[in-house]
Symmetry: C2
Subunit: 247 residues, 2 copies
Amino acid sequence: MNAPNFSAAHLKVACSNCNLRELCLPVGMALSDLEKVEAIVANGRRVKRGEHLFRAGDRFENLYALRLGFLKSTVTSSDGREQVTGFHMAGELVGLDGISSDAHSCDVVALEDAEVCVIPYPRLEEVASAVPVLRNHLHKVMSREIVREHGVMLLLGSMMAEERLSAFLLNLSQRFEARGYSRSEFVLRMTRAEMGSFLGLKLETVSRVLSRFAQDGLLEVNQKHVRIVDPDGLRNVVSGQATCPPN
Amino acid sequence: MNAPNFSAAHLKVACSNCNLRELCLPVGMALSDLEKVEAIVANGRRVKRGEHLFRAGDRFENLYALRLGFLKSTVTSSDGREQVTGFHMAGELVGLDGISSDAHSCDVVALEDAEVCVIPYPRLEEVASAVPVLRNHLHKVMSREIVREHGVMLLLGSMMAEERLSAFLLNLSQRFEARGYSRSEFVLRMTRAEMGSFLGLKLETVSRVLSRFAQDGLLEVNQKHVRIVDPDGLRNVVSGQATCPPN
DNA sequence: CGTTTCGTTGAAGAGTGTCAAGGCCAGTGG
DNA sequence: CCACTGGCCTTGACACTCTTCAACGAAACG
């Protein structure tokens, strides 16, 4: 743990000129309100690849805004089975699970070196109560998480392996695009096993389906590097349609 | 639609002497704060079996506290597949999905005649901002929903049919008990197909597993009526343990 | 450069889905 | 009161998807 102070200093927060602001905070927020937020957001925290941001059972104190890097969150059943519940990219808020019981109920791990803004929750609640636009935003973020999970339930409950993978890749693609990266070419930060866990499949199945997609000309796959060749083809897979042209 | 006025009058809300208060509102709430809540909670609304409380796409205006009855919520994919995302019992809050986008993203349907308290969301936000204990409660309810869905993802992503059904029945049992009903004997308000949709199984599989449980002496099943004979046996099924005693 | 982790692929098997037939039950109308 | 109807549930046989087990290859790491 060398030079934590340096690291902390380096990560001084400045929402006002953070390029993730529009992902993380409501648009059109008054400068004066922005300052209130900056005032409570502690310095950032670095999480190295493989390290935990927090664990299930940890006391809940902060929300975290992901500034840089890539995270996964997982839940573990009493008998030890692990389920990936989500992957997180820059601009997303993690830790909402902790609000319900003052303790976290899932683990969050960095899949690549990450930096987060630490947001003490009690103080966020205070500010949010006083700043309607922030309060609304916070509620929307939580609600959006609920809706997202509905989508995952649909995926897990009623789709075949190919549809799941296809929906997953399209979702990643869209999120990369929203962050200014290529929507057709990106690197999968997670392993096949982690994808499989998230999608309710075994890693071998994930691998096989990716190979099949590549063979069908939908993707180019090179280990973790993926290029989407035929996005419409992928969308057809999700819709349960055959890859062949409509009759 | 006979006598809507009568119906509305009959359903006048009175949180202060509602026996669901401890499920629905924070404990130890000051009487003065309770009055603020009562002031915004509109008269109740009845939803007959089979009718919608709201539909995906409906403008989001209210949250609903379920006073009486049994609801299901479902999401539908673009190609028409329907997934049950939850079943709701008295004291639970529904409609949180709508906050994210000012429109609902799921359908909620009554599985038996129901009554809900209608809570205009904008006014709830105002009151919640002013009443910390209510604000905290609202946030906890949303967070709890997120955590609940994590559990469903675990179920859908990593459990076998028998484990899913077993976990589902135990969950229902617990919720009935929390409401003062028998934890061992209850009526399933949903069809086999609806259970299957929620659990990511086909109705035939649900039926078969229930029969198997009955044959193994874990349950007595009579159509929609279920009696849990061996709760520990059911718990062992969820843990992935065999039904036989531990070695 | 060995070691480890991760990924790919094949063959065989288990668990669910699909299809089909029939039973049970509540509601309806004769 | 009874037959009829339609929705729901159960059960069997079979097909299919996905998992399991296993071997090997490729990349990452110290």
